[in-house]
């Protein structure tokens, strides 16, 4: 058990280093261009104008862009380890603060989307499994496959078109009361709902073929009792694993969804900072997205033995 946790922690640190250094070296591999774009923002406030050579040089010196990449990364990483992610090139605000202000918006969005996918996907998956090869099953599966095949940004546009512009039921974009959550959550959660549904269906089918289900049925137990206490509990394990991995897709999807719905989360912060070449903010956002994703998977790994005692013993 302890061994397993230590191994996971090792992978955890490795992934953090790999993804942040990858982004770091990528972002800094075009130093001249970075300095140029930043000079445009800082001195001219306008991306259309071209900065002079002196201005570009000034930017390079101010932000240490002349130093070697390795030493730049080293100082970034040590500072980050102490909780200092630097300041935004564009607004001079502390990156950590900028991210922490926006983090709740993204977490709310992602968590409610996961909740939605579980609340809709699992019952539908069980229904499809219980009524295997019926019209209900085919309908559920067809909807799920359609949900997986649809690009989420396009779904977002359709939902805005129908529900907020034509029917005027929901706000179009922006951040505010619970009604603002509806369209972004539905857009973000659709694909995950479909994946949860398909997985619940197949793992329930798998469990239903087991001997102990036949025994339970033979004992004359109520069908609903069998489904809940015997099948669902065992079918849950692969679903939990999948939700952990799917959370990464959700965070990725949030980058696009937040941009469309003008949602003030870290996904939108990432897109905004990419267009301004605001390297410290890009770095910080990637660090946080990776951190959140990994913390969740780490927790799930550790919680496994609770759901499946067999795993704890090995």
């Amino acid at each position: 058990m302890l061994n397993n946790i230590l191994k996971r922690l090792g992978i955890f640190c490795l992934v953090l280093t790999v993804s942040t250094s990858l982004v770091f070296f990528m972002l800094h591999s075009l130093p001249g261009e970075n300095a140029e774009v930043m000079a445009k923002y800082i001195f001219l406030g306008n991306v259309e104008l071209n900065p002079s050579n002196e201005e570009v040089q000034l930017v390079k010196e101010k932000f240490d862009l002349d130093r070697s990449l390795l030493s730049q990364y080293y100082s970034w990483a040590t500072n980050a380890f102490h909780g200092d992610l630097g300041r935004s090139y564009k607004t001079n605000a502390h990156v950590l603060e900028e991210i922490l202000i926006r983090l709740p918006a993204t977490i709310t969005l992602a968590l409610i989307a996961v909740l939605m996918s579980l609340l809709i996907g699992m019952p539908l998956g069980i229904l499809a499994a219980v009524k295997q090869n019926s019209t209900t099953d085919y309908l559920c599966s067809a909807t799920a496959v359609l949900g997986i095949s649809m690009p989420n940004f396009w779904l977002a546009l359709l939902l805005i078109m129908v529900f907020s512009l034509a029917l005027k039921l929901t706000p179009t974009i922006g951040y505010g009361g619970p009604s603002h959550l509806i369209l972004p959550v539905v857009t973000l959660g659709t694909a995950t709902t479909a994946v949860v549904m398909r997985l619940t269906r197949s793992s329930t089918l798998e469990v239903m073929r087991q001997d102990y289900i036949r025994t339970a049925r033979g004992k004359g137990l109520d069908h609903r009792d069998i489904m809940i206490t015997h099948s669902l509990k065992n079918a849950l394990i692969p679903i939990i694993t999948m939700v952990g991995l799917e959370f990464g897709h959700l965070l990725g999807g949030a980058v696009i969804i937040e941009t469309i719905f003008a949602w003030p989360g870290i996904g939108r912060l990432l897109i905004d900072s990419i267009s301004a070449r605001d390297i410290p903010v890009i770095q910080g956002t990637v660090l946080f997205i990776t951190l959140m994703y990994m913390l969740l998977n780490f927790t799930i790994d550790i919680l496994y033995p609770i759901f499946d005692p067999r795993i704890g013993g090995s």
Partner: protein
């Protein structure tokens, strides 16, 4: 209908449907110059609604949207196929090497795939695509290089089963080399899985490409479906409810991705059928 075709349709209806849609889209891509009513580059009067001359109207610079849609099939499919191929070649090769040789190689490959699997894919791809110049090839490489892990894992676990099978042992005792066994015994038996994974990889590559292009990171010289939606969104097609501009490309993405997903679904079912 020919009996064997009828048999295939009743045996694997989803795969047949998926393959037919694939053939349809491939022919649209192949015969684009013959089908498209106009040259997609040709400009005319902008923002026309659908009419007899332009079935799907014209865009902001007066290009025929139907022709643009037909030509975009080439770009979207090409990116999907090439990115899917790269990820499948990397994924299958690593999975086979790890499963067959085991030991150090296996540990290394699995560790790398553990790391890459946990690296947040889409945000990284967005940064990569934004920093590399916007070109079709960059998108292909970005998507292909970050999408191989799940193939590696599936192929690896299949090869672990296969390498212990009696026929592999028999081949080995007859003096067959590792390369020969891998090509003639292992690869052949992973064919179904690799095919299914390939179809899925193409589907996810197409969706990822569409997302990147929608954010404006696509290749301006090779307009794809995702990029058409980007332009419809950023140049007033959406605000003015010009459905003929933003709806068709989305439908094309849906239909083609659906086709690939359906092709990938069948082996899963027949695998289940074999078990029963």
């Amino acid at each position: 209908m020919h009996p064997s075709i009828a048999g295939l349709v009743s045996h694997a209806p989803l795969r047949v449907a998926g393959l037919s849609s694939l053939i349809l889209f491939l022919s649209i891509a192949l015969f684009a110059p013959l089908i498209a009513p106009y040259d997609p580059q040709e400009t005319g009067s902008p923002y026309q609604p659908p009419n007899a001359e332009h079935r799907l109207g014209t865009n902001d610079i007066g290009q025929d949207i139907l022709s643009e849609l037909i030509y975009a099939t080439r770009v979207s499919l090409a990116i999907g196929f090439m990115a899917g191929s790269i990820s499948i070649i990397i994924g299958a090769t690593l999975g086979m090497l790890a499963g067959y040789y085991r030991g150090r190689i296996e540990e290394l490959v699995m560790a790398i795939s553990d790391v890459v699997l946990l690296v947040p894919g889409l945000p990284l791809m967005i940064i990569l695509a934004a920093y590399l110049s916007p070109s079709m090839w960059n998108i292909i490489f970005v998507v292909g290089l970050l999408w191989w892990c799940s193939t590696t894992r599936v192929v690896h676990s299949r090869v672990l089963q296969l390498r212990e099978m009696p026929f592999v042992e028999a081949a080995r005792s007859l003096g067959a080399g590792d390369g020969y066994i891998m090509l003639h015994h292992i690869l052949i038996n992973c064919k179904e899985i690799i095919q299914a994974k390939f179809a899925l990889a193409v589907a996810s590559a197409m969706l990822t490409e569409a997302s990147l292009s929608f954010l404006g990171l696509g290749d301006p010289l090779n307009i794809s479906w995702g990029e058409m939606i980007h332009f419809a969104f950023s140049r007033g097609g959406f605000a003015n409810d010009m459905w003929w501009w933003y709806l068709p490309p989305g439908l094309m993405i849906c239909a083609s991705v659906l086709g690939f997903v359906m092709i990938s679904m069948e082996p899963e079912r027949s695998q289940k059928a074999l078990e029963l």
